[in-house]
Amino acid sequence: MNAVAKKASWDEAYNFAYLDEQTKRMIRRALLKAVAIPGYQVPFGGREMPLAYGWGTGGMQVTASVIGPSDTLKVIDQGADDTTNAVSIRRFFKRVAGVATTEATEEASVIQTRHRIPEKPLKEGQVLVYQVPQPEPLRKLEPRETETRKMHGYAEYGLMHVRLYEDISRFGHIATTYSYPVMVNGRYVMSPSPIPKFDNPKMENNKAIQLFGAGREKRIYAIPPYTRVKSLDFDDHPFEVQRWPQACALCGARNSYLDEVVLDDKGGRMFVCSDTHFCADRQEKGHRGPMAADPAARAFARSSETSEQKEDDGR
């Protein structure tokens, strides 16, 4: 890989990757500290981006500080490459950084995500950038930053355990299904961002570098590869992930996170992989789900297959 030799081509009305170099340096320094203190939220001088706060500005700033001309970028939202915001962010980086893009998880060197971790295990050297709306896992328990910072500083996490235990006494189990808090490297309680708890186990000992950017709240945090990441639980109520009685209607997968797709207003529905690339890849390899031949289901599948082509039309 020689990024300098490969000539970058982008919309030169803007700096490469939009941010000026001073801002990139500031973010890069924050990223290095974040990696050195896994799970700790590093404050950073977040900038206004040409995308609304809450729509991925933190992830975009991290991606912009990391990415180079030789990178290949994948952007997903809800696990899908073709959701509008994923398309919009991918277009942004095509324009301001001229990077190659892909939908294939294994081909991407940088993956920006909102709400999911790809099903396919990541490799060493890949960077997974999470968009984070609320980086503070304790915020719902304590609205004040001055207080939550103290709680992290002294590792006072009793309140969080009490909250989870209240669920157990009320419902018989912990009623948190996404943004399920994790303990990183035995020290910091961290928000995994609003991924479903189904994805939590993938964070532990991942081979890739996991970076988290919260633009509005101006925080960056990280999980280096091969790091302990435990979902909070109790001995008598161990952490569990979601399971579905159904297999994916299109590719038949039984081990992926499924979205419920409403097919009509008479209760018709199907369950399909939220990770669109994972699902398409399986179908290409000949895997078939129970509704793979159904016209309505096939219409649904097509909308994701053609997204790359549509994007090229728009350039």
């Binding site: 809450g54 073709d82 609003p194 579905w244 219409a299 649904f300 039309d313």
Partner: protein, 366 residues
């Protein structure tokens, strides 16, 4: 069939075309020019410049046109543009005592050195719709009569008059060379200094700051304020280029400024005296600067040794929620697909309901 938010590139591009068409409106009606907005919607421009943190009437007017008059959207456009600008220098503090005053009033004294200058204000207009403005032929070129005598050159601040008697807290400038907190480059930090608070309030949403200021008057705050002085006019901006070593004038800006005077009971160390709240905005925006001055004073509770009991005194609450670019972004992000998390919640609700049902059946069987 219904396919959620899978639309992709073409839908986005078509949406952009549709918004361009809607923005233009009826083609029979002449298109609005950016100059017209700058000249005839000047107060909107002033607000967008203030909260957008860029003093440029033309860019602000362009943002208003592009945003179809949605000022919060226009502020966002200007802020995003601002991010891409290099920083050449930090200006010297502006001196509002040397302002070329267009308007200046004090509610604390009947008359003041330099006089009360009513200037352009809607205050005493009767709020009756003026149908003359709706006439096809327009209003022509209205002219105000020129004053018989020019205004005094020096217009001391009203607060300085109290200062001579020691009746009001001293206003101490920061020590020479002390760096001013810059919210556009550093994350919020607490406890916040007054520089950080004032910068936040100046950029803060006018409606939010207004409501908070109002709340301090209604009882969610203990101070009785007097509008010591409100002034609006031109001040010059100076920078000291590294290679010259002395200040040079780089242009003029119009600003509005408000000094609120508030009572203070005094403490063990300090005798009773008046205290200050301060507000400043680009352009002409008295509503904003007055509200800002009220909230500034409320936020000084800690340094005054007052108990912070009300929303306007709670600096984390005020500072974290004042920015409408942040607020609008986060509220609007709920429009993004959340179906993965919603699916997780669906699963949970179904499971909880099943468990509930099982329990009832079991109880009934017993």
């Amino acid at each position: 069939m219904y396919v959620a938010v899978k639309g992709g590139e073409r839908a986005i591009l078509n949406s952009h075309k549709l918004i361009a068409e809607t923005r233009r409106g009826d083609g029979q009606v002449p298109e609005l020019s950016v100059r017209q907005i700058g000249e005839q919607l000047g107060l909107a421009v002033d607000r967008v410049m203030t909260e957008g943190s860029v003093y440029d009437r033309e860019l602000a007017a362009l943002a208003i046109k592009q945003a179809q008059g949605d000022l919060v959207e226009a502020i966002f456009l200007l802020r995003a543009y601002r991010t891409t600008l290099p920083r050449f220098a930090v200006s010297e503090p502006i001196d509002t005592a040397t302002m070329l005053v267009q308007r200046r009033v004090s509610a604390a004294y009947k008359d003041i050195p330099g006089g009360q200058v009513l200037g352009p204000t809607y205050d005493y207009t009767h709020r009756l719709l003026d149908f003359a403005l709706a006439a096809e032929e327009g209003v022509g070129l209205p002219e105000a009569p020129e004053a018989e005598a020019p205004l005094d050159e020096g217009m001391p601040h009203v607060a300085d008059i109290l200062d001579h008697e020691g009746l009001i807290e001293e206003e101490r400038p920061d020590s020479e060379g002390a760096e001013v907190f810059d919210l556009t480059r550093e994350p919020m930090s607490f406890p916040a200094g007054r520089d950080q608070r004032l910068q936040n309030l100046a950029r803060g949403d006018e409606g939010f700051v207004l409501a908070l200021g109002y709340s301090t008057q209604r009882g969610y705050g203990g101070n009785h304020p007097f509008a010591g002085e409100i002034r609006m006019g031109e001040v010059s901006v100076e920078i000291v280029p590294e290679e010259l070593g002395f200040a040079i004038d780089i242009g003029d800006v119009v600003v509005s400024e408000c000094q609120m005077i508030n009572q203070f009971e005094g403490s063990k160390e300090k005798p009773p005296q008046f205290t200050r709240g301060y507000g400043l905005s680009f352009g002409h925006n008295e509503r904003k600067v007055m509200a800002m001055a009220l909230v500034d004073r409320a936020l000084r509770a800690r340094e005054m040794g007052e108990t912070a009991m009300y929303p306007a005194q709670d600096e984390e609450f005020v500072l974290y929620h004042a920015d409408n670019v942040e607020a609008a972004g986060f509220v609007s992000h709920l429009k993004l697909p959340h179906y993965v998390d919603f699916q997780a919640e669906l699963n949970l609700i179904r499971k909880l309901r099943q468990e509930h049902q099982d329990r009832l059946e079991k109880e009934a069987a017993e």
